[in-house]
């Protein structure tokens, strides 16, 4: 169980269930600051073929964070063997547009929006 905790957010990676849960508000400044989270996401990609990204509790994600997710999805798409499930909430404003875009990046993605 790898956990990254910041001032307003938490990233939890459960290798057993291949689930990454991100919660809180992520406002890091640029891909450099997102590096630790990128590492966790890439680790999941290396270790599993069926990954779930749970963002139901992720209230806010800035444009750099969304760019990070986009990169992650492109990586997963390029791995061809990976199946990706994205869980989101319709209550969270930024997720409406972004989840659609992420699925357009990788049509195989399963979207679970509550």
């Amino acid at each position: 169980m790898a956990t990254i905790e910041g001032e307003n957010y938490k990233v939890e990676y459960n290798p057993d269930t291949a689930t990454i849960a991100i919660s809180g508000a992520l406002r890091l400044g640029g891909l450099g600051e997102y590096a630790p989270i990128i590492e966790v996401l890439n680790a999941a990609l290396d270790e599993h073929t069926n990954i779930t990204l749970n963002m139901k509790q992720l209230e806010f994600l800035n444009s750099s964070g969304i760019a990070m997710l986009s990169k992650f999805v492109i990586e997963a798409r390029n791995k061809e063997t990976v199946d990706l499930t994205l869980c989101g909430s319709s209550d969270v404003p930024w997720q409406g547009k972004s989840l659609i875009n992420l699925q357009r990046l990788m049509p195989k993605i399963t979207l679970v929006v509550e």
């Binding site: 891909l31 800035n62 969304i66």
Partner: protein, 508 residues
């Protein structure tokens, strides 16, 4: 600590002074003893020598006198002239008083008991000899020369005994003098011993003092060396820390300067390419008011109004992240949009796809992970064609006061994320009636946060626009800006705030 050291130093000082005084005292004492002893000895020696000399001379005198008197008597025995005999007798008499004189002087010089006895003895003998000698003169007068000679000889023998004794006395005197000298020698030796021992004492005390002083000096030296070493170490440490801190500060300062320089450049870039008010006025049929306020750390919002051949291209967009890189990408996009406008590209799909490909290839070359949202509006004579993915577009109809929110999710895709987006580009057309208002914005407005962590949200923006849509565009703009600022209050502004208000002009 200081006081303790002062006291110790004082004690040392006092001890050293006392020791020094002791040495000086001992030396003075030994010198004075030495001098006094030497003086004594000297005086005694002088006395002895004087006496000895005096006594010798007198004894010799006495002897000479006796001899000469004898000679006179022998001479007289051979004299036949009575006048000569008288002359010699006179001389003979003179000798007696000379002898007595010498003997008295000798006695006055001080004689031992033995010597006194001897002199007494001699006096007796001399007295007897004198009697005989007197008889000799009588016999000579009586012309009994042979008898006179015989008596003279007798007297001579008696005198000889005295002479011998006198000689012995003189030799004895010499011995006495010598023993006195010897005594003096002993006294001198003792004095010397005393002086030497006192000097030795003085040297001893001095040695102790010097040893003491050296000990103190060594101790202080050690302490001083230790302190100096500690000081040096502290100094070295301090220097190291100063260097570290200076480097820290320098790099922080450099970083700050770099950041502020970057900020300057970013803001300038943003400002540089915004459409001028005159350009906005040239758009036929449309009133346009624009607003852009960059946040502290962010740069990357874009809007533009381009006019070519009666066709107006309005763009609004937002590059991800912030900083110089975002500003540069924004520059590239502005240029690409204008280039395509100049080239009279009419097909929206091609427009956006070419633009996307160009941006994407450049972004790849830059090794950047950034992309941007971009909405483009084509306007001509009230007809508005919208394409590209960005925020919602707000439309308020004058006739009904109704507000529409037009979603752009399905009209495009983020620019620069992948090489081909043609599949995602779609257009949305609307026709504007006079007085209709269109508001375009970037996510800095809906995502503006207040101290209670509440977002501004598009709903609130819609409320403000709906309330103010009848007013001129710059007033609508002001109303929105004021309300957003009111919401944010003193909270930190995370993102650039960009706003475009369009209103279809009334027919003249």
């Amino acid at each position: 600590m200081d006081q303790k050291h002062k006291n110790v130093a004082k004690t040392h000082f006092i001890l050293i002074i006392m020791g020094f005084l002791a040495v000086v005292g001992v030396l003075t004492l030994s010198t004075s003893i030495g001098f006094s002893n030497l003086n004594q000895i000297n005086a005694r020696l002088q006395e002895v020598v004087q006496q000895n000399n005096g006594k010798s001379i007198l004894m010799t005198r006495m002897r000479d006198v006796i001899r000469e008197r004898m000679l006179i008597v022998y001479a007289v025995v051979n004299l036949r002239d009575p006048f000569e005999q008288d002359e010699y007798q006179e001389k003979y008499s003179g000798f007696a008083s000379q002898f007595i004189d010498a003997r008295d002087k000798l006695t006055a010089l001080g004689l031992t008991d033995e010597q006194k006895q001897q002199l007494d003895g001699q006096r007796k003998i001399l007295g007897e000899a004198q009697v005989i000698l007197n008889q000799v003169f009588d016999l000579v007068r009586a012309e009994q020369y042979e008898e006179a000679s015989k008596q003279a000889v007798k007297a001579h023998e008696m005198n000889n005994r005295v002479l011998v004794e006198l000689q012995e006395m003189r030799e004895l005197q010499q011995k006495i003098a010598e023993s006195s000298v010897a005594e003096s020698g002993v006294a001198t030796a003792m004095a010397r011993k005393k002086i030497l021992s006192l000097v030795a004492l003085a040297i001893g005390i001095s040695a102790v003092i010097i040893g003491f002083v050296l000990l103190i000096i060594r101790r202080q030296d050690k302490a001083l060396t230790k302190v100096m070493q500690e000081l040096e170490d502290a100094n070295v440490n301090l220097e190291k820390r100063v260097v570290e801190r200076t480097n820290e500060l320098m790099s922080t300062k450099a970083e700050n300067m770099r950041m502020s320089a970057e900020l300057e450049v970013t803001h300038q870039l943003q400002e540089m390419l915004l459409p001028r008010d005159e350009e906005l006025l040239q758009v036929k049929g449309l009133d346009i008011a624009g607003f852009m306020e960059p946040a502290d750390e962010v740069g990357g919002d874009y809007y533009d109004v381009l006019n070519y051949d009666g066709r107006t291209i309005i763009g609004i967009g937002d590059v991800t992240g912030h900083g110089l890189e975002s500003s540069v990408i924004m520059l590239m996009v502005q240029m690409a949009v204008r280039t395509l406008a100049v080239s009279k590209e009419l097909d929206p799909v091609r427009y956006l796809n070419v633009l996307n490909r160009a941006v994407y290839d450049n972004v790849q070359r830059m090794g950047s992970h950034k992309n941007l949202t971009l909405s483009l509006l084509e306007y001509q004579d009230g007809a508005l064609n919208l394409y590209g993915q960005h925020e919602e577009m707000i439309v308020v109809r004058k006739a009904t006061g109704a507000l529409e929110r037009i979603d752009t999710v399905d009209l495009g895709f983020p620019i620069g994320l992948q090489d081909d987006i043609s599949a995602f580009v779609h257009t949305h057309q609307i026709q504007l009636a006079p007085g209709d208002v269109v508001v375009l914005f970037t996510d800095g407005i809906p995502e503006a946060e207040n101290d209670r962590k509440e977002y501004y949200l598009i709903d609130r923006l819609c409320d403000v626009v709906k309330t103010n849509f009848a007013r001129p565009v710059n007033e609508i703009r002001q109303a929105v800006v004021d309300d957003v600022r009111r919401h944010i209050g003193s909270h930190k502004v995370y993102d650039d705030i960009t706003l475009l208000v369009l209103k279809q002009q009334e027919v003249a």
